[in-house]
Symmetry: C2
Subunit: 196 residues, 2 copies
Amino acid sequence: MSLVLDPAAQDLLFREARTANTFTDEPVTDEQVQAIYDLVKFGPTAFNQSPLRITLVRSAEARERLVQHMAEGNQPKTATAPLVAILSADNEFHEELPELFPHFPQAKDLFFSERPAREGAAGLNAALQAAYFIIGVRAAGLAAGPMTGLDFAGVQKEFLDGDHTPLMVVNIGKPGEDAWFPRSPRLTYDEVVTTV
Amino acid sequence: MSLVLDPAAQDLLFREARTANTFTDEPVTDEQVQAIYDLVKFGPTAFNQSPLRITLVRSAEARERLVQHMAEGNQPKTATAPLVAILSADNEFHEELPELFPHFPQAKDLFFSERPAREGAAGLNAALQAAYFIIGVRAAGLAAGPMTGLDFAGVQKEFLDGDHTPLMVVNIGKPGEDAWFPRSPRLTYDEVVTTV
């Protein structure tokens, strides 16, 4: 009742959208990924630091290498999803800060000269952007299957470098047969929200 | 072109929505927060672990205590926003897992018996939910002002307990005068997305 967002959009993004475990064969195009990115890039991050990086696993050879690093239960869906993306945080995001946050170019040196501070900020803000990305996948009429059951060190070594920390792997496509479990229960408002 | 989501909803949630630094006096009601929660609670988390907790700072006394722990530049907006919420991660979320993920009740003991594993999972998944919450605030026709410029240890000690890690503080309300900077540039698709 209190929401301004159209009910159909609420359904598309949250109520009817589900984490898919199976997918149809319909490909996910670069144009779709670009449209998703061009929408969700506007989601807020601290100092507009935008640390999320996306690796699209398109070749059969790369897909095979990735599957080896997934938990056993995640291997079949990672092997068969139309598109698989590795989401990571760029711990050297501060190099882009003077361009990304022109109102306050000193932020780069004032807050992010030390690597641990950058890693903390990149981890949190890339996670926010990962959520925006999942919402964006749904906005494209596709289902996302985010997964954290994987060998993170292995994925980093195989696909990234020491400056990029993997956050999750996301399967993307049109949901297939028996794509999901029944919806699990959510915590009630009173279990989550307290007032002081 | 490739998106299914209605363009008005794209604008509301991403393109026209901005991080507000000033707000009108119009209150934000518990009914609005409940409507936001009842939408974004469906956003996905690993094992449906749902570790986000929300503390609404409603009393003048609590607001004053919170402002003391904010970075100087964030104090005026934290003092004047219609509603301020502390978002935190519940590191003991695993106690609810058998109820939240009935398909696989062993997950609680198999993956989350150790506190460091819980803290890592809670931090990432609560950050995803913080992003869903920001999107939900916008879905309610309100502006969010997420902030990480604060004394996290101070906020934890003052408002939470040892099992809850604060992630950010979010100002919520209708945007006021001069509510934001001009939109900062975003990284291009090619700066963010690579293909292997």
